[in-house]
Subunit: 168 residues, 2 copies
Amino acid sequence: MELTEAKQKFIEAWGKLGSEWGINRTMAQVHALLLLTPEALTTEEVMEKLSISRGNANMTLRDLINWGLVEKQLKQGERKEYFYADKDTWNIARQVAKERRKRELDPIIKILDELSAVKGNEKDPEYKTFHKSVTDINKLAKNVDKTLEIMLKAEESWFWKSILKVFK
Amino acid sequence: MELTEAKQKFIEAWGKLGSEWGINRTMAQVHALLLLTPEALTTEEVMEKLSISRGNANMTLRDLINWGLVEKQLKQGERKEYFYADKDTWNIARQVAKERRKRELDPIIKILDELSAVKGNEKDPEYKTFHKSVTDINKLAKNVDKTLEIMLKAEESWFWKSILKVFK
DNA sequence: TTAAACTTTCAAAATATTTTGAAAGATGGT
DNA sequence: ACCATCTTTCAAAATATTTTGAAAGTTTAA
């Protein structure tokens, strides 16, 4: 397989994986493209290489910046913006975990807290099942949340350092 | 908040969370409904409670069975099938991890292996960046895969037992 | 074998999501 | 102030996904 074909395959695969995990296909593809590109690219170049519209490229690049996966670069004497993707796999994983935690885990925990607090008749199987499921899921969600928090901030802890080293 | 409203909220929240993670909204909602229900339900009951069509209910329930989250129950002298959801949070998490690993992680690792093997000119920055990104991601993916495998099969290991206890 | 009870299928319809592209909005140099 | 260059916006169009429901399929009992 030659490089051009291989790049294409990677972009496709990354796009597919992304969409299976609730990340817009194009966003994942633009990210893949930037991961494979040594220098920063302009909106124009992203548009061309992936055959997408200006609007789409613009929005997608903003999103990637908001996710902390891509940074905007300005070059001396040039008006246009260049986009560069962080190539550190570990940072990418960290950023994705961080964002999804904030966007999805936190809100669901808030709801689960409310629902855990709902009172009812302990003799009623309907209530008992409801309460058990909700509190169990809440517990798990909170543990995941806590663990992520620790992993995300405290890479300095010897304990986590040794666990995380396995993944790097 | 009273029970009926709380149940409704949980079903909605679970559906939303599911769809943000690439799981069909209805599938997540049916799962939520079954999680809240002490006894097994028939297709008919699921249709009514969630106002969905027969076809949808049928397909969704099959999917949940394929994911290992719901089981079919047959009752003495009755023709119709009843559906019951495993209420053990830990099992649910295990099953989801197991299925997604099989369906998504394994295929992407296969592709990354192929792409890692692509040869090129080490002096070419295009190639170098491609190769680094692909092999780095491949490494991370393989570590995640290995870890999941260990977690999924070997709960008997004292090491994992102590780690996993934190989450339960 | 028939028929009632139940399940499955799948093309078409409904809905949701993504993408486009032209126009409006910025920005900076002259 | 004007213009060229670049970015952003967003309603409409294109695409993708999900849902429907009626018909076909299956199973069981009499």
